[in-house]
Assembly symmetry: C2
Homo-oligomer: 300 residues x 2
């Protein structure tokens, strides 16, 4: 019987330790206090936080193909570093202008804006350094496919493009269809990349990769929908960040267009769709099933 709480806590511990090990001045940069500053800011942006859901998806997808958990660690670290860089940059004054993240000062508050820009840039860059290392996977052919997945998932057709659309959408006038596209890019694309990267690590054939992609796209929609619902229903204390920001900013989400109950119904249907995409995989996909259910039930 798969235990989501235990497995996700174990993954979070492994990622925390892996990030802490990788993000050191001795490994990443040269000697001297100036070199330590950008690494310290990278650590601030990456450590002590988050549910590490993307690395969890990487290793849950790889587990379908019996890949041991440690073999998915480097790939999980790379995906998490991209997620963390996006938060560091999104928090900047020119973007969402957030002072708090996970209950702590954001990187530009703890350091300064220039350091936060550079720390985000470096987290993104080193994600690709991690994937290029043979520790990630012994075969170059697999590693280069991971690079492609991560780059396309986080680029102008994925995460960054979604963030741009989100900013444009705040000016108003997005239809529900346009909101869906924006969200599928902003958060969906990296979730999709995480699942696909796990599958590629595990050596999935095209048919399995296609089923897992369908899972990931539904799970990504569920994740974003839950986030929009929590922005309305949760408190800043629970979330460790400001809530009610979407409404305050006049930002359109599926909650503002469908109402809270309508959005909850769509969320449940979407989780069901994600789980159905896994029907050929048997008990080895229980991890991914549990994560999709978690997306619908999470309280922060």
């Amino acid at each position: 019987m798969y235990d989501f709480s235990a497995d996700s806590a174990d993954c979070a511990r492994a990622i925390e330790a892996g990030l802490s090990d990788y993000l050191t001045g001795a490994r990443l940069s040269g000697p001297g206090p100036a070199a330590d500053r950008v690494v310290a800011a990278m650590r601030h942006g990456a450590l002590e936080g988050g549910k590490r859901l993307r690395p969890l998806l990487v290793r849950q997808a790889a587990a379908i193909f019996s890949l041991p958990k440690p073999a998915a660690l480097s790939t999980g670290l790379a995906v998490e570093m991209v997620h963390c860089y996006s938060l560091v940059h999104d928090d900047l004054p020119a973007m969402d202008d957030d002072d708090l993240r996970r209950g702590r000062p954001t990187v530009h508050k703890a350091f300064d804006e220039a350091t936060a820009i550079l720390a985000g840039d470096a987290l993104l860059t080193h994600a690709f350094a991690l994937l290029s290392d043979p520790l990630c996977h012994p075969e170059a052919e697999v590693r280069i496919r991971l690079v492609s997945e991560l780059a396309l998932g986080s680029g102008a057709g994925g995460m960054v493009g979604g963030q741009m659309r989100d900013i444009e959408g705040e000016k108003g006038g997005f239809s529900p269809g346009e909101i869906s596209i924006m969200q599928s890019m902003k958060t969906g694309a990296l979730i999709r990349a995480s699942v696909r990267m796990g599958a590629i690590l595990g050596g999935a054939d095209p048919r399995a990769l296609s089923a897992l992609t369908a899972y990931a796209e539904a799970a990504g929609r569920a994740f974003q929908l839950a986030d929009d619902i929590l922005d309305v229903t949760a408190t800043p204390e629970t979330m460790g960040k400001a809530t009610g920001k979407d409404a305050e900013a006049g930002k359109q989400t599926l909650v503002s267009t469908l109402g809270l109950e309508g959005a909850r119904k769509v969320l449940n249907d979407t989780v069901t769709e994600a789980i159905q995409a896994l029907r050929t995989f048997g008990p080895k996909a229980d991890g991914l099933r549990a994560t999709a259910r978690y997306f619908a039930s999470r309280e922060k």
Copy 2:
């Protein structure tokens, strides 16, 4: 007889055309005006400008191993996109706060800060997407080595780490040795990566790669030294950007510590060192020799 002016102009044309072809909304992102905005900002930051010296180094290094110029194009585009992203982010108000770049408004002036941050992020990300594509090189083993070179050259131990040290150095107190380390990271690391990526594309053996690395490190020092000298001697009109900024900011360079004549002597010695590193390669290295000489003689 190698013609530097003709070859560098040809390379700049190929890179301009290649960037313009790659940086389109239809290729990079989905439909709709919001998607076009980040791509338009990427184009503003990458097109119509620059001497494209890094892609020139890529193809000149590859030429030693008889690689045809078009086969070095994708790699050159990737290196140039990393260079351009670094300029877009360096120009931001929180960093160098520049309004002009190559005589045109910087990206955050032509668009806004959030868009400039995202466009820089996307240029960096898509550099790795380009390298992961088989169009770059048919062998995955070669492509993943290129990813590694580019990531390590532009990360916390390379370009971004150098930029962080540069900001710290403006507060004063850097010794000439610390200035050298900072410069070798800030501009030297990407020049080094460019030459090495060309050598890797060409299939250089370890001995040739080592000689080319020595060339690249000396050439990178020459490039930065020439830049520091031009900051003192050139006009904003010639450079298409503000000059005298180092002195104004109290920034220490080798010109401020050695004087103009002292710096010019070190520059000439450094170019000689770069050219000597190429002594085993014969006429196929004339391109790299000419580029090193160009670094010492350029007027903008």
